[in-house]
């Protein structure tokens, strides 16, 4: 009897303790919201929803109004983004706390990356000044200077750094390509910036062999941006005429991919198997770029041995047969 009670007690402890711990952690998590997050609730009460409600004092009634999509914040993405610790009013005027928002407040110029990150030692490794200088040379900046800003690509409420933080190369590719496609494959956003007709990405790349495989395994910027060795992610987007179209630029021993997509990938320890540009093999395989030094040497050695054998055999056939005929 005593043993049975002991067993049941033990069983309950095993079941209950983790449950209590989990509940406590959840409660702690709920309580661990930062002051900034709580401050943001004031804005997100409206801006996190598809609609907002306000008192129309003129008509003396409550109005439920649609929230413009561009003004809506996805709180999940925001609190996962690089700016998750920010207060809305860190970047937006404190005057936005008052509703209705005054017209002059809404017309305020938006901050750029450099306004916060420029000249700051803490962010020096991100090279914001270099990025800005490269961006200013890009076709985005030169053709659409008045409308194209950092935020056009890097939506500040959702942007999450990928190249430095993600070790899975396919995630980096998908994330970065989605940034390009958010305009180049979205007529509504494209027309906000350009007066040209939105090109069809697929038909424009008809010339590219194995198009789908390329789209999955490299970023748009690999071919469409001028690579600078000292910069993590190239920001000098080139006009289409200057895009890389020569396959050998990637498919060769000195593949440009090593200075772009794979530049900051952890250079995993060499396996000793003798492959060129070995880091590429962690995620894919590029013909011409991933040659094997041992296979090269073995094949050259065998090839030379065969040629030598044939040459010796030929010489022996010529001389020994002549000698034999002479007898």
């Amino acid at each position: 009897m005593y043993k049975a009670i002991k067993r049941i007690g033990g069983f309950l402890l095993v079941i209950l303790i983790p449950g209590i711990v989990a509940l406590h952690a959840e409660e702690k998590g709920a309580l661990s919201r930062t002051d900034n997050q709580r401050a943001n609730d004031h804005c997100l009460n409206c801006h996190a929803h598809n609609y907002f409600i306000y008192d129309n004092t003129v008509a003396n009634k409550q109005v439920k109004h649609k929230m413009e999509q561009g003004m809506k914040i996805d709180t999940t993405l925001f609190y996962l983004s690089n700016h998750k610790n920010f207060k809305c009013t860190d970047c937006h005027s404190e005057d936005f706390s008052i509703w209705p928002h005054a017209a002059e407040v809404r017309m305020e110029p938006k901050m750029t990356c450099i306004d916060c990150h420029g000249g700051d030692e803490q962010y020096a490794k991100f090279q914001f000044e270099k990025i800005e200088a490269e961006f200013n040379l890009s076709t985005h900046a030169t053709k659409h200077a008045d409308v194209f800003t950092c935020w056009t690509c890097h939506e500040p409420h959702t942007y999450k750094i990928s190249a430095r933080s993600d070790s899975v190369i396919n995630k980096i590719i998908a994330y970065d390509n989605n940034i390009c496609l958010s305009c180049h494959n979205n007529i509504n956003k494209f027309e906000l910036i350009s007066d040209n007709e939105k090109p069809n990405i697929i038909s424009k790349h008809d010339w590219l062999p194995n198009q789908a495989r390329h789209f999955q395994n490299v970023r748009c910027i690999e071919c469409h941006a001028h690579v600078k060795d000292s910069l993590l992610v190239a920001h000098n987007i080139q006009p289409k005429e200057k895009a890389v179209k020569l396959c050998q630029e990637c498919h060769s021993k000195n593949s440009i991919l090593m200075n772009s997509l794979y530049q900051y990938q952890l250079k995993s320890k060499a396996t000793g198997l003798g492959f060129d540009n070995e880091v590429i093999l962690n995620s894919t395989y590029v013909i011409g770029a991933n040659r094997n030094i041992y296979l090269n040497w073995i094949s050259i050695a065998i090839f030379l041995m065969v040629l030598t054998g044939i040459s010796i055999h030929t010489i022996l056939r010529i001389f020994l047969r002549k000698k034999d005929h002479g007898k």
Binding site: S283, I287, G288, N292, S299
Partner: protein, 206 residues
């Protein structure tokens, strides 16, 4: 004409010519892709890819003709290796190639209508046509479809493994081609066998 044998009918000659041309195109375009260099391209990469893909598909078609022809005609018997006494026959042929040929000894297995290939030829042709060729197709076809099939079956490293195997088998086929061309100089005269595959008539008994 008494010492001439009609060994290679028109269809075999056309098939052989097509096979030779395709394999040469595949070797050159394959090498060009594997050793591509922006400064010194042997063939522009995208052209090499297209050449390799098209030539590869035609070679598969040509190979299927070979298999069908060898199944329904008597030509297949030349590739059937008799295991009994094989070692002795191979040794005799090897001795001839490494010694007898220099002494103008008669070939131990002279070419006849019943036996076109000597034992070494029979073994190497069998290995080439029934082992290396299927392997080059099995590794080449999945890459033609961007490795999608193999990638799904085996995993992300599949394309790399498939291509490595494709390269190794391709290299062995290149070696076969070189040795095959050299052995063809063993005819009555050094050019006799090359003439044979054009005219269909075999001269001498080598």
């Amino acid at each position: 004409m008494e010492n001439k044998l009609y060994l290679y009918p028109g269809l075999i000659r056309v098939w052989h010519l097509l096979n030779a041309l395709l394999i040469i195109i595949l070797i050159i375009s394959g090498l060009s892709m594997q050793y591509s260099d922006p400064l010194n391209p042997l063939i522009r990469f995208d052209l090499a890819v297209n050449m390799h893909n098209i030539a590869g598909l035609i070679l598969i078609f040509n190979y299927l003709l070979f298999i069908i022809a060898n199944t329904i005609s008597k030509n297949g018997k030349h590739y059937r290796i008799q295991l009994k006494g094989l070692t002795d026959r191979l040794t005799a042929q090897f001795r001839y190639y490494t010694y007898g040929i220099f002494k103008n000894e008669p070939a131990p297995f002279p070419v006849t209508k019943k036996m076109k290939f000597n034992p070494i030829q029979q073994l190497t042709y069998f290995l080439t046509m029934y082992v290396l060729m299927p392997l080059i197709f099995l590794t080449g076809v999945p890459m033609l479809f961007s490795g999608v099939v193999v990638r799904q079956l085996i995993g992300p490293k599949a394309f790399f493994v498939t291509d490595m195997l494709h390269i190794v088998v391709g290299f062995l086929l290149s070696l076969f081609l070189i040795i095959h061309v050299y052995f063809c100089t063993f005819g009555a005269k050094p050019y006799s066998n090359f003439k044979s595959i054009v005219t269909g008539y075999h001269e001498g008994n080598h």
